[in-house]
């Protein structure tokens, strides 16, 4: 079997390559000297439907760097905007994310990695960066298992931390909070029977699971729970099934890229008028475009693990003002998280005594009572933000409209 040999050869080549990476990285890390340039990179899906979100995130990062004049403690900050998506997928691509992570650890001038957007992508880059002690700040990952023991798979999050140290931090609240907040909101809206769908991905399924678990706890009846085929042409048959259960609310744990818009469309075309609730993976204008506003208006609810830009106060309001002034458009929901991730990283670089990876990692971990655009918060022992404010939105006249603050801070 020639094919088999070829596959074996490729596999052994690949393992050789990874060995090479490891041994390269094992060399002692030189501490960077004053006057030198230090680099920050971001790894976000720039190709595909997440582009609108990630563009404003990158803008946010750039603004944070510009704010300090591109200099921290005498060091010039260079920033590179990397893409972890491929046109074939139109979405983040595991291979590209792995390449980015390997490229980042090899370049010793890189001291901070902002990313990723999708939780699944972080699963890939976290262990790679962790081995080399390169600090990673995610502006958007919400899968709890990445940081919180006992919330994901058994070996999570240990499996992402081969060195034993924590190098991964995030400035957004996690899904276990968002899923339960959504279930509570559904109950508040008067739904008793809920049908839960998910896109079978880390983010979507994770959030749907929490919704289901917490929903049952607070007395919702779960009349259906299914993983969808996210590439299907339509969901007519599924909608017929949903209609037959008499569900009073349909929850979809998933993203715009995984066909949230098609589900919304098919629900309405199939005569299901029950409210449709989605998590923040759909909190982007692309979701409204894909669904057709008439299918969403007034009966769609979106939870978001934070506050929309125009509800921000203090430093956040200043950020929004500056953003509109600079780019002429309202920042998308995640822009401020990009900004915050970059700011907290720059702050840590400033505080770090030596500008090497380990000192900067330790400085990020030591972030306490940080006065940021999202309020005053700290990183906890898992690397999670202590900020827990979430918000609920609806769609009105083809636009997202803020309804209320959910969850509250605690």
């Amino acid at each position: 079997m020639r094919l088999k040999h070829l596959a074996l050869a490729t596999a052994s080549l690949a393992s050789l390559a990874s060995l090479a990476v490891v041994s390269l990285g094992a060399a002692p890390l030189p501490s960077l000297q004053e006057g030198k340039v230090i680099k920050i990179v971001s790894s976000l899906p720039r190709t595909g439907s997440a582009n609108a979100q990630t563009t404003t995130m990158v803008n946010g990062i750039r603004m944070a760097i510009d704010e300090v004049g591109g200099k921290v403690d005498g060091f010039d900050i260079a920033y590179e905007d990397w893409d972890d998506a491929s046109p074939q997928k139109g979405n983040w691509d595991p291979q590209v994310e792995a390449q980015n992570a390997n490229k980042a650890v090899k370049d010793q001038s890189i001291v901070g990695y902002i990313g990723t957007f999708n939780s699944g992508a972080s699963k890939i880059s976290m262990p790679v960066l962790n081995k080399e002690g390169l600090v990673m700040v995610s502006p958007a990952n919400t899968y709890p298992g990445l940081t919180k023991p006992g919330t994901g798979e058994k070996n999570e999050p240990k499996v992402y931390r081969p060195s034993g140290k924590i190098n991964y931090f995030r400035v957004v609240p996690t899904d276990d909070l968002q899923g339960s907040v959504a279930a509570e909101w559904a109950k508040e809206l008067g739904a008793k029977k809920v049908f839960i769908l998910h896109d079978r991905e880390l983010y979507g399924k994770g959030i749907a699971d929490v919704f289901q678990k917490h929903g049952k706890e607070i007395g919702l009846e779960v009349v259906g729970y299914e993983g969808i085929d996210s590439k299907a042409a339509n969901y007519k048959s599924l909608v017929t099934k949903i209609a037959s259960t008499g569900a009073e609310l349909v929850y979809f744990g998933g993203t715009t890229q995984n066909n949230a818009g098609q589900i919304a469309k098919d629900l309405r075309a199939g005569g299901v008028q029950a409210p449709f609730m989605v998590p923040d993976g759909c909190f982007e204008t692309a979701f409204i475009e894909a669904s057709g506003a008439e299918n969403l208006n007034g009966k769609t609810y979106i939870t978001f693990g934070g506050l929309p830009a125009d509800k921000l106060t203090g430093k956040g309001a200043e950020f929004r003002e500056a953003y509109i002034k600079k780019y002429g458009t309202e920042p998308e929901a995640y822009a401020v998280y990009g900004y915050e991730a970059a700011r907290v990283l720059l702050d840590a670089i400033d505080r770090a005594e030596k500008k090497d990876r380990e000192s900067i990692r330790a400085a990020v971990a030591a972030t306490k009572s940080f006065v940021g655009a999202l309020g005053t918060w700290s990183f906890d022992e898992n690397g999670d933000t202590t900020n827990r404010v979430m918000s609920g939105q609806t769609v009105k006249d083809g636009k997202f409209e803020f309804v209320k603050v959910l969850g509250g801070s605690n």
């Binding site: 609108a52 993983g227 969808i228 590439k231 969901y235 066909n259 469309k265 005569g271 475009e289 057709g292």
Partner: protein
């Protein structure tokens, strides 16, 4: 679950209407395979470009705002123009990509088709990024695009909970698909061109010795297959209401599976395969769980191919188109 007749019938309606669209696209695969034994990988992506063409046309002519009889007229314009577009594009591809390779090994042709498929996908990505009314700012090229609901999903039968519902869209699908299939059958069986196509399928060399211009006949086959794909892409887009540059892969895969199931090279086989797969998907979504659907479809395919390697209606003889 006790047998709920209304529920079952509704799922059959869903399945048949999706299946007819697959069948229309499947014919494009089966015709080309029948005549030059090429699995035209680019066919699904050709349909994707057809959907983009239709959406662009809607934007250019403002068809989205038409209603009533005008909307019906709009659909006819879309169908004909898109069929012409896809047919011509397929003809051009045949002329410049496949015809020079007529005498090359079949594998070369297949790899070329995969290449054409990549070109189409990237054209679709580029197309979706052009700023225009229907695509918005064009800054999210890969994002799914909303296709206006020109044909409403208004029920013409049922519509109340507990009734089997048949919508105007279901009617449109049947109304477009069935005449086309009958027409195609008539064309292949009863016209001079059809006779020539069958002759080329049987033996190209002998056919050309008999004075048949094989290149022209093959070109005509590509045109017709592409045009049917064009019709398919318009009803696909109207029915689903969302298009994206990646829809071709999935739509093509479903249709290709249908063609293989029915017996690739056989026209009635493609139709039968499309309907069967549509119904199987729908029943699986309805009675099992949605996540098992792709598994079930391919299990059926494998089982049928084990017992009937040439597909349900595939013939062992050389007569294909």
């Amino acid at each position: 679950m006790e047998l709920d007749v209304q529920y079952l019938l509704q799922q059959l309606v869903n399945g048949l209407s999706n299946g007819m669209i697959s069948a229309l696209i499947a014919i494009g695969y089966t015709m080309v395979y029948g005549i030059i034994e090429l699995i035209n990988w680019a066919h699904g992506d050709l349909c994707m470009l057809g959907a983009f063409f239709a959406l662009t046309l809607i934007g250019a002519l403002g068809i989205g705002a038409w209603s009533g009889p005008m909307a019906a007229f709009g659909v006819v314009i879309l169908l004909l123009a898109t069929a012409g577009f896809c047919g011509s594009l397929n003809l051009i591809v045949d002329r410049f990509a496949y015809r020079p390779l007529r005498r090359a090994p079949k594998l070369t042709l297949l790899v070329t088709a995969i290449g054409v498929s990549f070109i189409f996908v990237n054209l679709g990505l580029f197309w979706g990024g052009l700023p225009m009314t229907v695509f918005g700012e064009g800054n999210a090229a890969a994002a799914p695009k909303n296709f206006p609901a020109i044909v409403p999903a208004t029920p013409i039968l049922g519509g109340e909970p507990g009734q089997v519902t048949l919508t105007v869209r279901d009617l449109m699908i049947a109304g477009v698909t069935m005449p086309l299939m009958v027409g195609l059958w008539w064309l292949v069986r009863h016209t001079k061109l059809g006779k020539a196509m069958r002759a080329v399928a049987q033996n190209p060399t002998a056919a050309s010795l008999m004075g048949i211009n094989t290149d022209r006949v093959i070109g005509a086959t590509f045109f017709i297959g592409g045009a049917l794909g064009g019709f398919g892409s318009v009803i696909y887009a109207i029915n689903n209401g969302t298009i994206g540059f990646q829809l071709g892969y999935r739509a093509g895969m479903d249709a290709f599976t249908a063609a293989v199931l029915g017996g690739i090279g056989s026209l009635p086989g493609a139709v039968l395969g499309g309907l069967l797969i549509g119904v199987a998907r729908s029943l699986s979504d309805g009675y099992l769980e949605a996540r098992w659907t792709p598994t079930l479809v391919f299990t059926i395919l494998i089982l049928i191919l084990v017992f009937r390697p040439s597909g349900l209606l595939g013939l062992k003889s050389k007569e294909k188109v």
